[in-house]
């Protein structure tokens, strides 16, 4: 017997598809590999508040969903799927999918096979937990997750794994239990620094016993585990075994079903039609795996995919939003026609899949500037990407010349790629229609479509050459040079070239930054810091034949590399270029001389670079010769931001009496922005990276920030009136407000917003009684280092 529909995955998307399939009278079955519905949400901590973003999209599902606690949401779904439970099978892992529409065969891990006409993959991105791979791995006392460590006490618990999850579980459980941790290697190399310190201390202090270089040989159902250790086999009797071995990413399985991905990049999404159908007819992909990580979107897609499979054609839930977005446009076309028009007019989007383009437009703005109106201004920190759907714009270059861009062309890629401020002001030359797309979506598009990446890269190179080297060169000459240029990537600390190497070309720094150092008296002395948008390596080309200094990436950096002969040709063909380059060389030489005389200044710059400040745009530093440790900076931060300070003054390293506190440095290419499901982290035109109210509290940004400056915080009690506090002492002292017991809102990410909503600038700096707190950008570090001495 063949079912009309098999749904794989029992998360929000799968459940919603199941509920609507039932409603439509399809014959269906849902297979869930875990023991319960919505495993990802089950794994949230108890009482976590789950948000219902994006607020503008209406819910379209037969199951209920609104913002609330994890328990309330899981409970509502439990109730909603109760009548369907006959068609839902838990602990049913699909091993493979074969055949084609309408005769698919799903083979389960236990060997059973199921026939289906259509299949919906709603398996999310979390993947299934990796199992132990040893006999007895499914014994009753073996588990692969841990909800609440406080549930267990006075047990002997064996934890297998060496990642953060294993360490965090081990430490939490060791409070009330006897814990043994089994590590396959001789150290905890994958763990975060804080976790590493904690586990090392716990092992040294014997509160946790650790078996290094050991693995699980087998598990005895009677309640013991046999380990292969360095000294041979060891048997441990235990009450519980928790394996935290990570998850198997679902991509391999998805590809084994025949679904194609446009590129190898791990962030790439599978190719889907606007009915969520993959390149395999009858095989549909919805939810996070299809690029929609938010619960509401996933549930909507579950509903819609059931409609499509039942042969109905409905408009997606976002139809109304696009309709109103397009309402003001001069084209007066329907939603699908307008989308087609955008694709037709902008060559960049020619090859982009319909669903992806729709999603891009949905997250974009449509600007309609009048003639002469400014679209963005030079030195703004915005980083959106602009595509001209209709009309023309003028780019104002430094030399005062205007560059005209016409319908179908794009601009804004300089800030997009380098993370730096806008390089030029752009104005509407006629009335325009411009699609302004968020950086995140364009980056994702570039990772998915090689053609889009190449197109944007080429324009970036041409425009950088024009801005930095040859403003008057004809476009075709620059395009030819762009064709020969290579984009080179460097990790933090990598060397671009060494002092004494042969000079083979010039690096235009496109993103990140580099430090230039020379070896003097047996030690490396940093002589300068070069930010994105500038070039290095010109000295070896105009003067000496070998490199006069070593250039190192201070953070992850990309450069455009021009070969020596190409650059020489440019020098020949462009009047004035040689003089400009020589002028820069002269400035750099005199700067070198000055810095060489003051090695301490170079050491300070090296120290600041080691703190990752090379990627900062605005950093809080503390002059230790003035700081009295009063923490008025922290109190000011807390009191102007709902009671939680976003900076920790005392933490962080110091060098030469310059202290780098734990505080946001507003990175050029913020790590925190990389994986924000509701896209709540934004950059304001003045450079402030801030968190919007649409934060869902997932904690990704907190984990992604390498500098530990984001916290998850809940609301705090109200501040008392200042004078009544001073006079009577009633209420919390400034900076000491207590968290509210339960404000029902859950924790949200909080970080420094540079007091962008306060007039007068950052409160931390203005509140410092001794003037020790100062904010600066990396380009001012050289100036700072001069003053230290």
């Amino acid at each position: 017997m063949s079912l009309e529909l098999v749904i794989v995955g029992g998360g929000p998307a799968g459940l919603s598809a199941a509920a609507h399939a039932q409603q439509l009278g399809l014959s269906w079955l849902l297979l869930e590999s875990g023991p319960a519905h919505a495993n990802t949400i089950q794994r949230y901590q108890k009482g976590k508040h789950v948000m219902a973003e994006p607020a503008v999209v209406p819910l379209r599902s037969d199951l209920p969903f609104s913002a609330g606690t994890r328990e309330a949401i899981l409970g509502a779904w439990q109730q909603g799927i109760a009548p369907l439970s006959g068609n839902i099978r838990y602990s049913a892992e699909v091993a493979s999918i074969s055949g084609s529409h309408p005769e698919f065969t799903l083979t389960l891990a236990d060997g059973e096979s199921i026939g289906a006409k259509s299949i919906v993959l709603a398996i999310g991105l979390q993947g299934n937990p990796r199992k132990l791979g040893a006999p007895g791995e499914d014994a009753s006392f073996v588990q692969y997750t841990l909800d609440d460590p406080d549930e267990y006490s006075d047990e002997t618990i064996v934890i297998v794994g060496a990642g953060d999850a294993a360490i965090e579980n081990a430490i939490a459980l060791s409070r009330n239990n006897s814990v043994v941790i089994v590590n396959r290697r001789d150290e905890f190399a994958r763990a975060k620094e804080g976790n590493l310190a904690q586990i090392s201390r716990a092992i040294e202090g014997d509160s946790i016993k650790c078996f290094y270089n050991s693995s699980v040989a087998s598990i005895d159902a009677a309640g013991s585990v046999i380990l292969n250790t360095e000294t041979g086999e060891t048997r441990i009797n235990c009450d519980r075994l928790i394996a935290r071995l990570g998850a198997i990413p679902p991509r391999h399985f998805v590809e084994s079903c025949g679904i194609g991905f446009p590129s190898d990049d791990p962030t790439t999404l599978p190719e889907l039609s606007n009915k969520y159908e993959s390149n395999v007819p009858g095989l549909y992909v919805i939810g996070a795996l299809g690029g929609y990580p938010l619960i509401k979107q996933a549930m909507n897609q579950g509903y819609e995919v059931a409609e499509f499979i039942a042969g109905k054609d409905i408009q997606p839930a976002d139809h109304g939003i696009l309709e109103s977005m397009f309402a003001g446009l001069p084209f007066k076309l329907g939603v699908d026609e307008t989308l087609a028009l955008i694709r037709r007019r902008a060559p960049l989007f020619t090859d982009v899949n319909g669903l992806v383009l729709r999603e891009l437009v949905l997250s974009s703005n449509l600007l309609m500037p009048k003639k002469g109106e400014e679209i963005f201004r030079k030195n703004d920190y915005t980083n959106s990407f602009m595509t001209i759907v209709e009309g023309e714009v003028d780019v104002e270059t430094d030399s005062g010349k205007l560059i005209r861009l016409t319908q179908g062309q794009f601009f804004g890629e300089m800030s997009l790629l380098s993370g730096r401020r806008r390089a030029a002001t752009v104005r509407a030359a006629t009335s325009c229609v411009i699609l302004e797309s968020p950086r995140r979506d364009i980056i994702r598009l570039m990772n998915s479509y090689e053609a889009v990446r190449r197109n944007i890269d080429e324009h970036f190179i041409v425009r950088t050459l024009r801005a930095g080297l040859a403003p008057d060169a004809p476009a075709d000459e620059l395009l030819a040079i762009a064709g020969t240029a290579e984009i080179r990537s460097f990790r933090s600390g990598d060397v671009l070239f060494n002092e004494g190497d042969g000079a083979d070309g010039l690096h235009l720094i496109r993103s990140g930054s580099v430090s230039v150092s020379r070896r003097i008296g047996g030690r490396d002395i940093v002589t300068s810091y070069v930010a994105a948008g500038n070039y290095v390596g010109e000295m070896g080309l105009v003067g000496q034949a070998s490199r006069s200094a070593t250039v190192r990436a201070t953070v992850a950096t990309e450069s455009i590399f021009l070969k020596a002969d190409v650059f020489m040709q440019m020098l020949e063909r462009n009047d004035g270029l040689r003089e400009r380059v020589q002028e820069i060389v002269r400035e750099r030489l005199s700067e070198n001389l000055r810095m060489e005389a003051q090695p301490e200044a170079g050491d300070l710059i090296s120290f600041l670079m080691q703190q990752g400040l090379g990627e900062a745009t605005d950093v809080l530093l503390i002059d230790e010769t003035l700081c009295i440790g009063c923490d008025n900076c922290e109190k000011a931060c807390a009191e102007t931001h709902g009671g939680t300070s976003r900076l920790d003054r005392a933490a962080g390293p110091s060098y030469a009496q310059v202290h780098v506190p734990t505080s946001c440095r507003h990175c050029e290419d913020p790590h925190c922005m990389k994986d924000c499901p509701p896209d709540a982290i934004r950059r304001a035109p003045n450079g402030e990276v801030y968190v919007q109210d649409s934060c869902i509290g997932c904690g990704n940004c907190e984990r992604n920030c390498p500098y530990g400056v984001i916290q998850m915080a809940s609301g705090k009690e109200q501040a008392p009136n200042l004078l009544s506090w001073i006079l009577t002492g009633r209420g919390a002292a400034p900076g000491k407000r207590q968290p509210l017991a339960d404000d029902g809102e859950g924790k949200k990410a909080v970080k420094c917003d540079m007091c962008k909503d306060l007039s007068g600038g950052p409160a931390c700096v203005r509140a410092c009684p001794t003037g020790a707190a100062l904010r600066m950008s990396p380009s001012e570090f050289v100036k700072l280092s001069k003053r230290v001495n």
Binding site: I628, P653, L722, L758, G771, A772
Partner: protein, 292 residues
């Protein structure tokens, strides 16, 4: 590298304070009242009013410092002005008194004011001197890192002690639990290490003062010298090395607490005396207008 409170904006408030002083002295010089100079002459009232307003404004610094969203200047600017104008206040009030003192509420108010100013001057001194010393004392490591390092030494000491006889375990664990310094503001200021340790002497244990881990180190040296088992001696040597390390870490930590306390202690005088001064000022003014 950055401007101190005294150097703030080319010492603009120093110039303002000097201007206030010069104007007051000139007025006092020129003024030729019918009676001996005192608070009751026209100039006396004028200087008194100026002084009272200055005191209220100076005290308002405590409020401004906590008005974190205020855009009225920066706290640093306010502090700079607070210091210079606070000094000018002494002159203004001195001229207001006409150098007449006695055993009364008026002179009491003056004395309180002088105490506030002197404690403030001490504050200026520590604010200028101590930050640099604090920073040099810690040598680029912050306080919690120092504490972490000490805890790390403790953990390693416990592990070694477990391989030695019970008296060594007692030495290590009592040394850790009886580590004591800086429990109160006073103890922090005195920078005394009040730690103790349990040492086995003969068959009994004795509680011994252990400042700078000295007693423990001496006891270990004694044990090591009498030890015949080279493996045990090596362990004792290792333990002794760890305790020396701990001593080296404790020194800057205790000093850090001392200097931080110095930066705070004067406020315990300055602020309550200011409150007292405001009360005395009020009684002085009431006394003048009600009972004169």
């Amino acid at each position: 590298m950055h401007e101190s409170i005294l150097a703030f904006r080319k010492r603009r408030y120093l110039w303002l304070a000097l201007l206030v002083s010069v104007v007051s002295i000139a007025a006092y010089w020129i003024d030729d009242p019918q009676e001996p100079a005192n608070g009751g002459t026209v100039l006396g009232y004028a200087l008194g009013t100026a002084g009272a307003l200055l005191i209220v404004w100076l005290a308002w610094f405590g409020v401004r410092k906590r008005r974190y969203a205020s855009t009225m200047g920066t706290v640093q600017g306010w502090l700079s002005a607070h210091v210079y104008l606070g000094l000018a206040l002494v002159l203004v009030v001195l001229l207001h008194t006409g150098f007449q003192f006695g055993y009364n509420v008026h002179t009491a108010a003056f004395a309180l004011m002088m105490l506030v100013v002197v404690s403030g001057l001490f504050g200026v001194y520590v604010y200028l001197k101590y930050p640099q010393r604090l920073s040099e004392n810690r040598g680029g490591v912050n306080r919690s890192e120092l504490i972490d390092q000490i805890e790390d030494v403790d953990t390693r000491s416990r592990r070694i002690a477990r391989q030695l006889p019970a008296e060594f375990q007692e030495l290590v664990s009592s040394g850790i639990s009886r580590l004591q310094f800086g429990n109160s503001m006073w103890a922090r200021l005195r920078a005394r290490d009040l730690s103790q340790v349990l040492l086995k002497r003969g068959n009994d244990y004795a509680v011994v003062a252990n400042p700078g881990q000295e007693a423990a180190l001496d006891w270990l040296a004694d044990q090591q010298s009498r030890c015949r088992d080279p493996a045990v001696a090596a362990l004792i040597g290792e333990l002794s090395g760890l305790l020396r390390n701990k001593r080296r870490l404790l020194k800057p930590l205790i000093e850090d607490f001392r200097m931080q306390a110095m930066l705070e202690i004067w406020l315990f005088v300055h602020v309550p005396l200011t409150a007292g001064l405001l009360v005395a000022l009020l009684s002085h003014i009431l006394a003048v207008f009600v009972y004169w």
